[in-house]
């Protein structure tokens, strides 16, 4: 394994009564794509929020690029976030700005570049995602896939060292899906961006991921290079990775006996 870019040690986190993380240990290697997978509600998105410093751990530590996230001052945190890009599931484009201004937003906020430079940077990023021609459209005029590509352009506009993708494949048509998969792969391979991919689209994720980490019930169930994890998978993980209905996870939620609910007691 190459050097770890993110190190998570004994992370615990609870929301109200619900224990979301129960001692998670995880390493995200530098310059590779790591897929974080797991059943719905297992805390995949919450994990991204910890890495981005939007949530604080109850105990344990998260370090990004060698910096401990716990106890960072706001300005230190913001300095670190400038090296992070995050693609939200909804895109989260600012609805009162057009595509160009959305992508220009972080640049304008952080740097006093002159207008022609901003224009060059923004159009280059839009070119990467294939939407240079859509620069003057408003977010309401974009399809779901286009909005996500614009959000991707905005996330990479400051050339981050770390990209986090939150459910990037959900709700896309096959062609757009293919485009996004290719984009994520090429961004990682050509620019050497460390990427974390949170998803439960197994086929797409495994086709581009170098490393795999599976979360379930607050713990890391498996982590390592994709092939190794696949080869050593437990029965539960095998069922998860193949999406089979047969296996240790029952289709039925635990319930009382059927006879009881359907009034099937034998007549006597």
């Amino acid at each position: 394994m190459t050097q770890a870019y993110i190190e998570i040690k004994d992370l615990t986190f609870a929301r109200g009564q619900r224990q979301i993380f129960d001692g998670i240990n995880l390493e995200i290697p530098q310059g590779a794509i790591t897929a974080v997978m797991g059943p719905s509600g297992c805390g995949k998105t919450t994990l991204l929020r910890h890495i981005g410093g939007q949530l604080q751990a109850d105990s344990g530590s998260v370090s990004v690029a060698g910096v401990q996230m716990n106890g960072l001052s706001r300005s230190e945190l913001f300095a670190l976030r400038k090296q992070m890009g995050m693609l939200f599931q909804s895109g989260a484009l600012l609805t009162d700005l057009n595509v160009f201004e959305n992508v220009a937003f972080p640049v304008r906020e952080h740097y006093q570049f002159d207008e022609s430079m901003v224009r060059d940077i923004v159009l280059m990023k839009l070119e990467i995602v294939g939407l240079r021609g859509a620069a003057q459209l408003m977010p309401s005029e974009l399809s779901g896939g286009m909005a996500r590509r614009v959000a991707l352009a905005r996330a990479i506009v400051l050339d981050p060292a770390l990209m986090m993708y939150d459910e990037p494949f959900t709700g896309l048509d096959p062609i757009t899906l293919g485009n996004i998969v290719t984009l994520i792969r090429s961004l990682s391979k050509s620019l050497g961006i460390t990427s974390i991919l949170v998803s439960h689209d197994i086929n797409e994720s495994l086709s581009i991921a170098d490393y795999l980490c599976v979360l379930a019930e607050g713990k890391v169930v498996a982590q390592g290079p994709v092939e190794v994890v696949k080869a050593t998978a437990s029965p539960w993980l095998k069922q998860f990775l193949t999406g089979s209905t047969e296996g240790p996870v029952d289709f039925h939620y635990p319930a009382t006996s059927r006879a009881n609910d359907f009034h099937l007691e034998a007549k006597s």
């Binding site: 939007q54 913001f78 939200f88 989260a92 484009l93 600012l94 905005r154 400051l158």
Partner: protein, 261 residues
């Protein structure tokens, strides 16, 4: 039963205090971001346009009719005592001291406050605030502070507009329709209305209401449960709380400003 009642009262009280605490911290952060409106006046101007200029029509329209009604009702009462020459004083004092600041604040909370709450709430629900934060930009400073400052500038100015339009429409009805002498209408007003007592206190009311209404509207949006139902509830709360706070504050301010016991 009794115990249950106590428990629930305690829970409600604690919940209220917790929200109040969060709202205070929120206000502190909003004020801390103040320099941004000096370094980037464009943000302030954009917000001023949406909360101020766009509220102007409803304020002017209401002031027009309120002034006319006060003039009519005042005349009916005064004429019995042969005191219709004082109509100007009655119209001016009721509008300057009470109606202009209170009605402006109430109308503002319905027109601009609700819009602010819904806008901020939806920005939260659609993860726009979170995405701004992930871009290493402080969303309170960038999004909330300009709107807050614009709001507390807009409300006193709108109050002033209400005063001018209300008094003038009262004059139009009093002189044009009811035939009150023009000279005594203005002259009585001039001698009885004091600049720093009536007008400035009215504007001060407007300023204080402006802080309350904008604080409530922005906090409700920022604190909204990020779902469509949550935003709807927050918007309702924003308008209802604003109205209650404005009326309660109005009583306190009136008793301090205009009543000498």
């Amino acid at each position: 039963m009794m115990r249950n009642l106590f428990e629930r009262t305690g829970e409600k009280t604690l919940g209220f205090l917790q929200r109040l605490g969060r709202a205070s911290i929120f206000l502190f952060h909003v004020l801390k971001g103040f320099p941004i409106v000096l370094t980037r006046p464009k943000l302030l101007l954009d917000s001023l346009y949406s909360v101020g200029v766009l509220s102007l029509l409803i304020i002017v329209f209401s002031a027009l009719f309120v002034g006319m009604v006060i003039s009519l009702l005042g005349y009916v009462t005064l004429v019995d005592f042969g005191a219709e020459q004082s109509l100007g004083v009655l119209v001016a004092l009721s509008i300057l001291r009470e109606l202009a600041p209170v009605l402006t604040a109430l109308l503002y909370s319905g027109r601009a406050g609700s819009a602010l709450t819904a806008e901020i709430g939806l920005m939260k629900a659609t993860e726009q605030l979170a995405s701004i934060e992930m871009m290493a930009i402080d969303p309170i400073r960038r999004v909330i502070t300009p709107r807050f400052v614009a709001g507390i500038i807009a409300v006193p100015l709108l109050t002033l507009m209400f005063m001018v339009v209300g008094i003038y429409s009262g004059y139009l009805i009093g002189h044009g329709w009811l035939g009150v002498d023009e000279g005594s209408f203005w002259a009585q007003m001039q001698s009885k209305v004091q600049w720093n007592y009536d007008i400035l206190n009215g504007l001060l009311k407007g300023f204080i209401f402006g802080i309350a209404v904008n604080w409530i509207a922005l906090f409700e949006g920022y604190d909204a449960v990020p779902t469509s139902e949550g935003v709807a509830r927050a918007t309702t709360r924003s308008v209802v709380y604003s109205a209650l706070i404005v009326l309660a504050l109005d009583f306190i301010l009136t008793s301090i400003m205009f009543v000498e016991v």
